[in-house]
């Protein structure tokens, strides 16, 4: 495959940030189809429009997801990318790898693909970018037999779940997000690989309210770690912050002179619930008032730790704006024990209850958050058999248009207008 002139893309080789153009050129030495990637993208830069066609149903036998079909609309000019399907490979929880594993994946992609990847796709999968239909089955065979890896999800199914690195390296993890993510990914392989839902469904697991995987913004089922007892305080370390011996926020602000650390200004006054105060040198927290926002803990990681009675809050129904507007996930289950001993049965039970209902009432291409919007949160809570609590709302409704039901009203809805008229003339 010949090299194409790419004057526009060459401009993206300049500057301090790593250049994908330079990288693709380097790969072209052993994977000449990379010249055609550059050639077609250059044409897009010239025409200011994409040159990929609207997909195509491709995949491996028995799976309804994991491969995204893609064809060039200028295949004669760029035969190396005429077919350019994507292979999604499920990532290990927390995205840790060994060099040996990565090299094996690279070798596989040297053999069967373009040599280009996305590390990672926005869902979390490793994305191998660009192969042909005939390569799919042999690739899948070697992937499963030799690499012990599997495809991720795409289409109207459970998408590859993703988690934060949790307990493996974060002191704030309130549950083992990796264990839960790994367990559910394996438990629901069928749901990942064979679309049976009204639309896509995503799990994301963040082990504390900092929510590093953005679960509350982009997953239908967001499991976010929390605690229900008292923030653990080390008063000597609090003092070390006040005395300026430890940098605030783990050193996150050390690039600018923000002045001497001021615990009142930086912690106590920024606490959204105003539940902290100093008594002499002692930091006090009225833990019953704390909403576990994480701010004070973020600022003084050596002095403060999440409480010891840990679990997760589960929020349901986030989605990007398409179509009715963006939704964050709604707090549904305030505190759930995340227990590997019972194979996470409390979580599994909730997931399946949501699916059973959504698969029945969800319309085609309706995310569960939209279904909840359509029927209303009260209906959803009833279906989930969750007791309504003030925590489910930011504030009570401001209209009085309550849907009372027949059973709720004394005497029911059935009445006799003739009886009524005897007492109230028309």
């Amino acid at each position: 495959m010949p090299k194409h002139d790419t004057p526009l893309l060459d401009e993206l080789e300049k500057g301090p940030w790593p250049s994908f153009v330079t990288d693709i050129k380097r790969q072209a030495a052993t994977k000449p189809e990379c010249w055609d990637i550059l050639g077609q993208v250059e044409l897009s830069y010239k025409d200011r429009i994409t040159h990929w066609k609207h997909g195509g149903i491709v995949g491996v036998f028995g799976y309804g997801g994991g491969i995204v079909g893609r064809y060039s609309d200028v295949p004669k000019q760029f035969p190396g990318v005429a077919h350019f399907h994507t292979v999604r490979i499920a990532q290990p929880s927390g995205m840790y790898y060994s060099a040996a594993k990565l090299r094996a994946i690279c070798d596989l992609w040297q053999k069967y693909g373009s040599g280009m990847t996305n590390m990672h796709g926005s869902t979390g999968d490793m994305v191998l970018l660009g192969t042909t239909t005939p390569n799919l089955e042999p690739l899948f065979y070697e992937l499963t037999h030799d690499l012990n890896q599997d495809l991720g999800g795409s289409g109207s199914n459970l998408r590859t779940p993703a988690c934060c690195l949790g307990k493996s390296r974060c002191e704030w993890a309130c549950y083992d997000s990796q264990a839960l993510c790994h367990f559910l990914t394996n438990h629901y392989q069928d749901e990942i690989h064979r679309p049976a839902f009204p639309y896509k469904f995503k799990f994301k697991f963040s082990a504390c309210p900092n929510d590093c995987v953005a679960a509350i913004a982009r997953s239908d089922f967001a499991v976010i770690g929390t605690w229900r007892d008292d923030i653990r305080i080390n008063q000597a370390e609090v003092k070390a912050y006040i005395d300026g011996k430890t940098p605030s926020n783990g050193g996150a602000h050390s690039g600018r002179d923000w002045g001497k650390f001021d615990i009142k200004k930086e912690v106590i006054d920024l606490c959204p619930t105003g539940c902290m105060w100093m008594e002499g040198d002692t930091l006090k927290i009225d833990n019953k008032e704390c909403t576990r926002c994480m701010h004070c803990i973020n600022v003084m990681p050596r002095a403060l730790r999440p409480g010891a009675e840990q679990g997760a809050t589960i929020c349901v129904g986030a989605k990007a704006p398409i179509l009715d507007g963006a939704q964050f996930a709604t707090m549904t289950f305030p505190f759930v024990k995340i227990d590997a001993e019972t194979e996470f049965e409390e979580v599994v039970e909730k997931i399946e209850k949501i699916w059973d209902w959504w698969m029945e009432v969800g319309k085609n291409r309706e995310r569960v958050g939209e279904t909840i919007q359509r029927v209303g949160l009260p209906t959803f809570l009833k279906v989930m058999e969750v007791e309504p609590i003030p925590q489910h709302v930011r504030e009570p409704r401001s209209n009085p248009y309550v849907f009372w039901s027949d059973e709720e009203v004394e005497g029911g809805f059935e009445r006799d207008i003739r009886e009524f008229r005897k007492r109230h003339a028309q």
Binding site: R103, A217, C293, I322, A326
Partner: protein
């Protein structure tokens, strides 16, 4: 035995899921799993995590393009082999993390990374601009209104010093999605760069019958702008097709998703909108959506100077004006959005006033406001 094309179902292995993560843990991570006490960022891009055992895990975080070659991954493996017992991880923001078990091993690792040109910039910790999460753009997708990798490269070149330092009031998360589908879920980012179309779909009457199920194309439109009609194709035959009521169209591209005979991409029509002030963490304030402040910037290839300048301007005005810990959205809410527009010099246009569903939530129903230059 390898794959046998004549017998594709033989010895088939399916549904094995990802390998267990624990086998990929560096020793210090495995040993101290769940027993971390605290962390400290000792310099931009270098994190030290202290365990109850007294062990330390030192992490060096480096930026990367999301679109990377296998040769680049192999180079990452070489570095992991040389310094990290052959282990490495990625973050959700496309950064790569090299972990070692003592401080003494950090400098040799940093030196090695620095010796490899600009491939491994160290940073993305604390009050910095971390890597941009983004989608496919012209490198792979069929619906984009802008490119992804190129815009990201141009913006990161300009914000590079903020990646490698920690001088901002708080972390700033930038995200890009190349069309309104927002695969990258940019709707809760401090600064979101979003590809938008501005011309309604064209209808390919020659192709529509072969490519599309008309009822699906019609019901795809959230605004009911797609209607069935009888049209004439270029061969002069009457075909069942659709038309689009342009006054109703909000250029979402949902019809094109359902029906490839309704393309809406256009070199002049397509470009970028900028949204700001979203966050996902619960820290201090609740999660927030990003808000549209610049409705359109052109696709000026190859380096999108207007977009780069707009992002940098917002970032730098915020950096100067916000208080320590304040995210962009928290800052804008404290000073008021009218002040945000005044301070950034971004012209306020009618396009920032919501007229879609649930719009009323964003209108001001109070006599509280500030007298900015907008009030003549």
């Amino acid at each position: 035995m390898g794959y046998d094309p004549a017998n594709p179902m033989q010895d088939r292995i399916t549904d094995i899921g990802p390998p267990h993560y624990e086998q990929f843990f560096p020793a210090v991570i495995k040993k101290n799993f769940g027993k971390w006490l605290y962390h400290e960022i000792t310099q931009p891009g270098v994190l030290m995590h202290k365990a109850e055992s007294g062990d330390e895990c030192w992490t060096v975080r480096v930026g990367a393009a999301r679109l990377i070659s296998i040769d680049h991954i192999r180079e990452i493996c070489d570095i992991a082999d040389a310094h990290c017992d052959g282990f490495v991880r990625w973050t959700t923001r496309n950064n790569v993390e090299f972990m070692v078990d003592s401080k003494a091993k950090v400098q040799p690792l940093l030196d090695d990374l620095a010796s490899r040109g600009n491939k491994f910039p160290v940073g993305a910790t604390g009050a910095s601009v971390s890597n941009i999460v983004h989608t496919q753009g012209w490198v792979h997708c069929h619906t984009p209104a802008t490119d992804a990798s190129g815009v990201v490269k141009a913006v990161m070149d300009e914000l590079f010093d903020y990646f490698t330092s920690m001088t901002l009031p708080a972390q700033v998360r930038v995200a890009l999605a190349c069309c309104l589908n927002m695969c990258g879920a940019v709707h809760a980012s401090d600064i979101a760069i979003l590809g938008v179309h501005r011309k309604p779909p064209m209808i390919d009457h020659d192709a529509i019958s072969g490519l599309c199920e008309l009822p699906l194309a019609i019901s795809a439109c959230p605004l009911g702008a797609v209607k069935p009609i009888k049209a004439t194709n270029s061969a002069g035959q009457e075909v069942k097709s659709v038309k689009v009521n342009a006054d109703r169209c909000m250029f979402c591209g949902n019809c094109y998703t359902m029906c490839p005979a309704m393309p809406l991409a256009d070199p002049e029509g397509d470009g970028i909108a900028i949204l700001v002030g979203g966050k996902v963490s619960n820290s201090r304030s609740m999660p927030k959506f990003s808000k549209l402040v610049i409705p359109f910037l052109p696709n000026n290839t190859p380096r999108w100077p207007e977009t780069v300048a707009a992002v940098k301007n917002i970032l730098e005005v915020y950096a100067k004006d916000a208080r320590k810990y304040e995210r962009i959205g928290e800052w804008a809410e404290r000073i008021g959005w009218e002040k945000f527009f005044e301070k950034t010099g971004i012209p306020f246009t009618i396009k920032s006033i919501d007229d879609y569903r649930l719009a009323y939530d964003t209108w001001r129903t109070s006599t509280q406001f500030k007298f900015t230059s907008h009030i003549k």
